[in-house]
Symmetry: C2
Subunit: 317 residues, 2 copies
Amino acid sequence: MDLAINADDVRRAAERIRPLAQKTPVFTSAGFDTEAGSRVFFKCENLQRGGAFKIRGASNLILSLPEAVLARGVVAYSSGNHAQATAIAAKHVGAQATIVMPEDAPRSKMEATRARGARIVTYNRFTESREALAAAILKESGATLVPPFDHPMIMAGQGTAALELLEEVGQLDALITPVGGGGLLSGCATIAKAIHPAIRVFGAEPEGANDTFLSLKAGERVSVPHPDTIADGLRSPKPGELTFPVLQRLVERVVLVTDAEMRAAVKFMLLRLKILVEPSGASSVAAVLFHKLPPEIRSVGVVISGGNVDFEELIGY
Amino acid sequence: MDLAINADDVRRAAERIRPLAQKTPVFTSAGFDTEAGSRVFFKCENLQRGGAFKIRGASNLILSLPEAVLARGVVAYSSGNHAQATAIAAKHVGAQATIVMPEDAPRSKMEATRARGARIVTYNRFTESREALAAAILKESGATLVPPFDHPMIMAGQGTAALELLEEVGQLDALITPVGGGGLLSGCATIAKAIHPAIRVFGAEPEGANDTFLSLKAGERVSVPHPDTIADGLRSPKPGELTFPVLQRLVERVVLVTDAEMRAAVKFMLLRLKILVEPSGASSVAAVLFHKLPPEIRSVGVVISGGNVDFEELIGY
């Protein structure tokens, strides 16, 4: 079966998103390397525009749409980083973004999204379906849906994080990224394997949201109906239809991390590297810090996916 | 009167410290610029080795010492970033560092210093004089004192932060750094004025430790016997004998910031730029965020001096 994207899609995405996504820095830390027992290169998407890698995929899709399509607007359903990214990219091209959010989403996230010029439509998480609501908006407005992960343009856009990392640091034994729906991991695996076929690619998933871990074991997409983890960006219940075959083909293994390990990784990155990483973004960091990768791996690229944490949440660690 | 250092001293320091100090990144933030009303370029010394700019001065002095002198060791009295920096630089050249610290210094700082291979000598802050203790150690061992700010090699070393910043971003209307004893500000002012004579140089000082502010007003060095501020790195009671004449000649004004303003700046940098800044390091940030500089300034370089905060302290904000 053909996969949804190839390395050229990622390379084209890198060109396309240049006006919107930043080339984020790569950090290293001798102290972290000592703890981890390998050389670690952090791709800091927490320092990305909007505070997460999501701008890469959202802008790759939105910047590829014809003007007449953009004129009818774009829609995303998310209470998190993907909503911000969609709002930023839409604003950049002058399109109206509509974000469907649960009515009990954190006020700070709603305000940040509104400040980007997006229209917010809220729903009751317990009595309404966001998919039905989004479908109604799409039908009525003729707007385009910007899905959070299961779309070739989204997957290719997210892969540009790994492209930049490998262009900067050269060959690595391994690469690891967080896994939610698999958009970031599928895009990164695609380009990494094309540049360095011997690179070993891993995903990091919370124990309480281990749908991709279970799906890879089962050989088919398996649902975890009620994900339970502090990593709010990784609570998608099931890998994507398009992302999953890419992960099956290119990813060696998904390793699991606990909430406590992610909290410890957040604190390490904050106090030692002086950067703020959100729990979801720290899943890949935790995997390396707690020695979940094969011990023969001497150098590893770690994608830190985001840094959007509320202060009130952080002080609970 | 001749000043203690000139621009060539800073340029030579930049060469000398290259093996030890990192070229730290310069961050910008559209969100911060909007709040501040000017274009702001953050020189991120919180991302420096040891978590603060102090490695620049300490390594400039230590790397200039002959081997025979280094063999007798180096001594610093500090419970903070300068102790770390002295320990790191001493270890690099294989010299024994002795750090004189109050016996009630935070355990984390003692352990971090010891982990760098330094010997720690403690004293009782209420009954003993650290200067007398250090003098006894120096006399007995023949070691060299690495003073925290009032030394030409220290001042020149600290100035390399501004040299790197201006080389990277080009001409700026203004430059601002935190002021404790004046080592960082005097070094940065020296090189900034040499590169761009029209640049306006400012210092940021806590209201509760406003010795440099008062000294500049008085035209002579004035003491604030009991500095009271959360900015633990800026509690020196009096500007230096060597630093003060430089500040008098080259600094337009020292602006004052409150503890609350520094806390707000720490939070802004953490939640929006995703980097951890310590209160002392955020004094310069707070000055710009709270519009303490003349409004006609359109572009400003802000030196963030450090990022060493205990988690327990941070969550109190």
